[in-house]
């Protein structure tokens, strides 16, 4: 992980003092609602349906065990014993008091955590592949680049009042998009040129929300030295020309689309020409310093996997979990273990204080003291030795984190929805639970194979419904909750926006509709053909017929 220098820590302490004073002035009536709104949002604080919601930044999803324990303390002391893993790898508290937030920030700052720029019209948390650094398919670890971007974005004076929120993701896996760069305001794809030098293909103008679309390539190959000048150029063009009259047309995607990628590139190149080669150029020394923070842990060599093999042969439940919830690792003898936070009856992505403490202990014992949040609202222990997998599984099972449903129909991604969020048009959580209860036969769930189900309670799309193979969007019709279904979205390969099926459904119809979709798939699939492939082969019509016919 990135290790804070004295000055990084000082910055956080100064931030706590600043926000404490802002809160004090608001409570004393020295700041208007509107003025404080912008300030608290830049600190991740929303005023929600029943209470404020505080979004805590987790840069590229990485959490050290000490941070997990502090989060557990915060959740215990200031919330109702639960927090929520968000689809941008952050942590959300749903019940803090506005007055307590400065104290919460103080505690978080003690473990190098904060809520800086987790909301508001500024550059948000930088996200990446949750398996960064251990993914055997990546060409290099993307996290140093994320950290370099994070520092540039933190309190960047020119880009604090953008037309709209701004999300950046970095991907280092070729031919796949685990960081969803295609649907980010800026997507950064790490590449190597023929000499093995690192550079970036830079995408701009992707996004979900209202008017979802995938981005366009603006920079074909930006040498690593030029990463920040290039990003700054994209941001400056957006800051100057992004729409500020209509909130719904204010994202960069609208500007890129209106100008066309060619014109946008031209404007960026003009800015970049001025910055290129200047003092912002990254230095080898700095990149080396940051890379040094993400060193390979001290893996054991020659991990004996005999016991693992016999456990896999003997224990069917363990075998199923191993094949479903663990992932291949760069290092021989190791696996990345995903903790599924999707047990039926539990809010997708919710974790309790006790569980956070337990995950911290597991991280310390089995995974070099680190865990990660995933954009599918699960968590990861990225470095577990094969000879400890059985032990880890047993402990995860006891904690309720070993439901073997990763990437399957019940591993549902859902925003907090109308139960908690004041932006939502409809509830998400009961819809997720309804589907999980309908598909309660784990053999059948496995037989169905990979299936991404994503639910958003409104078109802000926090549940990423556009990129679910099956997407469910809550809509409001004359004060009543309805749900619109999309099919064919993808967030598993290169991002693709799903297609609307047709008229929306009432809440109690949704499970039945999903059931019909699944039955049609089962009837039409070829051998071992995943849902999304069947959909892409046969198209929307048969599904429509099955549901509306």
């Amino acid at each position: 992980m990135y290790v804070y220098q004295d000055y990084d820590q000082r910055l956080l302490q100064e931030r706590v003092a600043q926000y404490r004073d802002q809160t004090r002035r608001y409570l004393a009536g020295e700041l208007s609602e509107d003025e404080f709104l912008a300030l608290r949002l830049q600190n991740g604080l929303y005023i929600q349906r029943y209470a404020p919601m505080l979004r805590i930044s987790v840069p590229y999803g990485m959490l050290a065990s000490q941070q997990l324990r502090t989060l557990a303390n915060v959740v215990r002391e200031y919330d109702k014993g639960f927090c929520h893993v968000s689809t941008r790898q952050n942590i959300q508290l749903n019940w803090p008091e506005l007055e307590d937030v400065p104290d919460i920030l103080e505690q978080l700052a003690g473990v190098q955590m904060h809520a800086i720029q987790t909301s508001g019209n500024c550059i948000r948390n930088i996200t990446t592949d949750e398996l960064a650094g251990v993914n055997p398919k990546e060409i290099e670890d993307p996290r140093p680049w994320c950290e370099i971007i994070r520092q540039w974005a933190t309190f960047n004076p020119e880009f604090a009042y953008l037309p709209r929120k701004f999300k950046i993701a970095v991907n280092s896996v070729p031919d796949a998009d685990p960081a969803l760069i295609g649907v980010h305001d800026i997507g950064v794809q790490v590449l190597h040129d023929s000499n093995g030098e690192t550079g970036f293909q830079v995408w701009a103008g992707g996004g979900l929300g209202r008017t979802p679309m995938t981005g366009a390539v603006i920079g074909e190959f930006v040498p690593w030295q030029d990463l920040l000048p290039y990003l700054e150029s994209i941001l400056r063009v957006y800051n100057k020309y992004g729409n500020r009259d209509n909130k719904f047309k204010a994202r960069i995607k609208i500007l890129v689309k209106a100008l066309g990628p060619e014109k946008y590139r031209e404007l960026v190149e003009a800015e970049f020409a001025e910055l290129k080669g200047g003092a912002m150029t990254l230095t080898e020394e700095e990149v080396a310093r940051i890379k040094n923070c993400f060193q390979t842990p001290e893996y054991r060599s020659g991990v004996d996997s005999t016991a693992l093999q016999s456990a896999l042969d003997e224990n069917r439940a363990f075998n199923r979990w191993f094949h479903t919830n663990t992932r291949a690792h760069k290092q021989a003898g190791y696996r990345a273990v995903v903790l599924t936070l999707k047990k039926t009856g539990r809010v997708p992505g919710d974790v309790s204080d006790e569980q956070l403490d337990a995950i911290a202990d597991l991280a310390d014992r089995y995974s070099f003291g680190e865990a990660r949040n995933t954009h599918q609202q699960n968590m990861v222990l990225a470095d577990v030795a094969a000879d400890q997998l059985f032990e880890v599984w047993q402990q995860l099972d006891a904690l309720g984190f070993a439901t073997p449903n990763l990437g399957l129909i019940t591993d549902i991604v859902a925003c907090p929805g109308g139960d908690l969020c004041s932006l939502a048009n409809a509830k998400s959580i009961p819809i997720a639970e309804g589907i999980q209860r309908r598909f309660d036969d784990m053999d059948f769930v496995h037989d169905l194979g990979p299936l991404d189900v994503n639910i958003s309670g409104c078109m802000n799309a926090c549940g990423h419904h556009h990129i679910g193979h099956i997407g469910i969007l809550g809509v409001d019709k004359k004060g009543k909750e309805f749900y619109q279904i999309t099919l064919g979205g993808r967030g598993d390969k290169l991002s693709h926006i799903g297609e609307k099926m047709g008229p929306s459904f009432e809440a109690d119809e949704v499970t039945g509709v999903i059931d019909k979709i699944i039955r049609l798939y089962v009837d039409n699939r070829l051998e071992n053909e995943p849902f999304i492939d069947t959909y892409e082969r046969i198209g929307m019509d048969p599904f429509k017929e099955a549901v509306y016919g």
């Binding site: 910055l11 912008a38 019209n121 309190f155 880009f159 953008l162 800051n239």
Partner: protein, 175 residues
């Protein structure tokens, strides 16, 4: 006469600013420092340059420094108007004035100018702030201008980002 923050001190505002609406109703006073809208400047440039007292130009959002580039050498002051503090275009304009056009005169933030944005404004090149009249300008100066001693990016005061001046910061933190 109002107050403003200029180069880190609270001083009397020596300039009178006229917006387009005012200039439709009344004409400029014969003497005194004035700030006029960009369109007015363009239309009356010759006459304005004749004045014995200084003239500055105010940019609205959507009016960029490039529109004024050729005139900057003749101007002691460029104001940038923030109709609402959330409209951040002015930050890019100030930065361009300083770094692209090398403008060394006064760059003044006017309009919805508040304590909590001063730090950012200062870093992108504003050196004068007409803090909104209903707010405490002393508090804004004391608490708003430099809430942070650490910055990661380059800015108009130091074109080196953190990775070219880390060692200085580390020395400071040892004190």
């Amino acid at each position: 006469m109002g107050k403003l923050i200029l180069d880190g001190e609270i001083v009397d505002n020596q300039w009178q600013r006229f917006d387009a609406g005012q200039l439709e109703q009344e004409s400029l006073p014969d003497s005194g420092a004035v700030i006029v809208p960009l369109a007015y400047w363009k239309e009356h440039k010759a006459a304005l340059l004749e004045r014995s007292d200084p003239v500055g130009v105010c940019l609205e959002p959507g009016e960029e420094p490039v529109d004024l580039a050729e005139d900057l050498a003749a101007l002691p002051l460029v104001a940038i108007h923030f109709p609402a503090f959330k409209d951040g275009r002015g930050y890019s304009y100030a930065r361009e004035l300083r770094t692209r056009y090398g403008f060394t005169g006064e760059v003044r933030a006017v309009g919805d100018v508040l304590q909590d944005q001063l730090f950012y404004m200062h870093r992108v090149g504003f050196n004068a702030f007409e803090v909104r009249a209903d707010r405490d300008i002393e508090q804004a100066l004391n608490n708003g201008l430099r809430p942070f001693t650490v910055t990661y990016q380059a800015d108009v005061h130091d074109n080196r980002p953190i990775y070219r001046r880390r060692h200085e910061l580390e020395e400071v933190s040892d004190v």
